[in-house]
């Protein structure tokens, strides 16, 4: 098998498990929706506050969902010593990394689409510049999934991984939160030219995260 086939094998396995367990739809999505709803109640909807902060709230909700998705992606590898099976499988560690990150990214895209619909309905936001908005979202999703996968494997063997992953991951992905929020603000304000530089920043972050993950995942999987 070549790298692409190995990536497909790992991603297919993780997505099949997710389809059966439905953790994204039944636990992570409601969690993200509750976060949005709580902010909607907490902030004053009459003065346009919600519309202004909608991009930031959306990405905070996505970021919290990433933590749950990453935790879930590595919980399945700790049960029944499946991680040993993965290490002995003969698969290229880079392919395991890309496959697991791809599976998380697919789940995030579904989640983001549903949460974005929630933002439009709840916060009275119109998404005018779809092109940069979609590209920024995809680049941010790849960056978050890749970084989450890398930090997920780092903490996989630790008892305190549920608390350690957020502490390690959130500071690292803060540029994604910033860039994606700015890109969304520009898209919502109908100023796509302001969004493109942020799309560039998010794309660079995504490329760096994927590259670092392909290099570091193997050693981390061995030592975790």
């Amino acid at each position: 098998m070549n790298l692409a086939q190995e990536v497909g094998l790992v991603a297919g396995k993780d997505l099949r498990i997710e389809r059966r367990a439905r953790v994204t739809l039944q636990q992570i999505l409601p969690f993200g929706a509750i976060v949005l709803l709580l902010f909607a109640f907490a902030l004053d909807p009459d003065r346009g506050v919600l519309r202004r902060v909608a991009p930031g709230l959306f990405w905070v909700a996505v970021l919290l969902a990433v933590l749950l998705a990453v935790s879930r992606a590595f919980t399945i590898e700790t049960e029944h010593a499946a991680r040993d099976g993965l290490r002995l499988s003969g698969l290229d560690p880079a392919a395991i990394f890309l496959g697991k990150a791809a599976a998380i990214a697919v789940q995030l895209v579904v989640l983001e689409a549903l949460l974005a619909a929630g933002v439009v309905l709840l916060f009275d936001v119109s998404l005018s510049s779809i092109g940069p908005l979609v590209l920024a979202t995809l680049a941010a999703t790849v960056g978050l999934a890749a970084t989450g996968t890398l930090y997920g494997v780092l903490a996989v063997g630790l008892r305190m991984r549920e608390t350690l992953v957020p502490v390690l991951l959130l500071p690292v992905v803060s540029p994604v939160l910033l860039g994606a929020t700015r890109a969304w603000e520009a898209a919502i304000d109908g100023a796509p030219s302001d969004a493109w530089p942020w799309v560039g920043v998010l794309s660079v972050f995504a490329v760096l995260a994927v590259g670092a993950g392909m290099l570091a995942f193997g050693p981390l999987l061995e030592e975790a």
Partner: protein, 224 residues
């Protein structure tokens, strides 16, 4: 003939504890080596070290022609380890777990069905791993190991949790593996049963091997 496993003065530390302390061992193709010894003697660590799952701290370790002190990954596709847990995923069916392992190892998908048939798991092919009994999970782990077509089979207490039928199937599998020229290293406390299957017994005490340490030329299987 070059031994499949050649270990000299192996030291393996688990934390600061020397799980293996100056161990020597050879195993040739077609041998079934029984590893016996009390709890904490180092049997499981030895199997995991040969599989490349734990690092060699000092000594010489050559498995399937690879020097494990330099590279403990590339030989993994040619071996299979059945440990205390199944290394399977609860939300995948029996068939899907075998298919994943077989495809990851680069073996033909056709062998997955044969392995399930051989271990008596064909009627459970579409049952999720999470719904299998302990004994059925042991059989599944063994089916996966065989389906990968390994040159070296590492078995850690393989009879544990198996019913009488499962034990009989396992004995047949071990006999067939030896006849096929596969090397089997078998850690067990069930000495009456496994001595009859083994060509040689090595006793481990406090991380050191005693008894017949070297592979004997043209070993004759001693079976009932």
């Amino acid at each position: 003939m070059q031994p499949v496993v050649r270990l000299r003065s192996i030291v393996c530390l688990l934390g600061r504890f020397p799980a293996l302390a100056g161990l020597d061992l050879d195993a040739a193709a077609g041998e079934v080596v029984l590893l016996s010894g009390g709890n904490g003697a180092g049997k499981t660590t030895l199997l995991r070290l040969i599989a490349g799952l734990v690092a060699v701290h000092s000594g010489e370790a050559e498995v399937l022609g690879r020097d494990l002190t330099r590279d403990r990954r590339s030989h993994r596709r040619e071996l299979a380890l059945v440990g205390h847990e199944s290394a399977c995923y609860d939300d995948l069916t029996t068939r899907e777990n075998v298919d994943f392992a077989v495809r990851a190892a680069g073996a033909s998908p056709d062998v997955a069905a044969d392995a399930l048939e051989q271990l008596g798991l064909a009627p459970l092919a579409d049952v999720a791993h999470g719904r299998l009994s302990t004994g059925q999970r042991r059989r599944l782990a063994l089916a996966i190991a065989l389906a990968r077509g390994p040159k070296l089979l590492l078995l850690d207490e393989p009879h544990a949790g198996l019913d009488a039928e499962g034990r009989a199937v396992l004995d047949e599998v071990l006999a067939a593996a030896s006849e096929d020229g596969r090397t089997v290293l078998l850690a067990s406390h069930e000495l009456d049963r496994t001595r009859a299957l083994a060509t040689r017994e090595v006793v481990l005490t406090a991380g050191r091997a005693h008894g017949s340490l070297a592979a004997e030329p043209q070993p004759e299987p001693a079976r009932q």
